[in-house]
Symmetry: C2
Subunit: 110 residues, 2 copies
DNA sequence: GATCTCGTATAGACAATCGATAGGAGGGCC
DNA sequence: GGCCCTCCTATCGATTGTCTATACGAGATC
């Protein structure tokens, strides 16, 4: 039954959130919509994944949240990247490209 | 404690094993050594990850195991890809490239 | 016959995602 | 005012997959 859509999202969600926030401060659902849009629907981050991740990142000091009003005048928590978060993003991107390169090598061996 | 997480990207181990077996039938530790070698040490699959994965894949019918003697004359279980496994590998590769493309798009947005 | 290596196996801890569910609060409509 | 829809955040429980650590049998070497 279960068609696994994007389980490989595991472990990359943090990086994607940090990247999104590196462009503009956003609130949670804004990030979610942004990722969905950019990836053409490949990543549909559900609230049950998104908010725990945001709390995790804030806990680690990589993002900072602030309550404010959304564009549609709702109460929303806007997050922005901290300096540590920007550094972290760089590390994760580097690690990611290493991993992708390694996997690519495996997949290309004949 | 700053630990560099060498954790394999979740969900990719199955694909890597299938790919390795698509080249040659191998026993468990052989697969592990092969991946380590090809990726230059990026993936060091530990027994605690490898064997559960192999059992999982055999259960699903994607690989088939047979007891035999290893090159060093030990008792070893050689696995080979089934037809279903080959098909599965194709699906996983396609899914993987989709995901990588999507993530790349996110990381490249400015 | 002690010890090393090879190869397989499993138990327990742990982290991250998902599905489901919840609720407050603004906006539009009648 | 009363209703419903959407927006936005939140959390619980289950599931999955990885890790660390430990274990054991058996061939190799001496």
């Amino acid at each position: 039954m279960g068609e696994h859509k994007t389980e490989i999202l595991r472990g990359t969600l943090d990086m994607l959130i940090l990247k999104a926030l590196s462009l503009n401060p956003m609130h949670g659902l804004g990030i979610s919509r942004r990722l969905d849009q950019i990836t053409g629907g490949v990543f549909q981050v559900k609230p049950g994944s998104l908010f725990p991740a945001l709390h995790r990142l804030e806990q680690e000091g990589w993002i900072e949240g602030e309550w404010s009003g959304s564009e549609s005048n709702r109460r929303a928590r806007y997050y922005r990247l901290t300096a540590a978060g920007r550094e972290r993003l760089g590390e994760e991107q580097e690690s990611w490209s290493h991993v992708v390169l390694a996997i690519t090598r495996v997949l290309e061996t004949t």
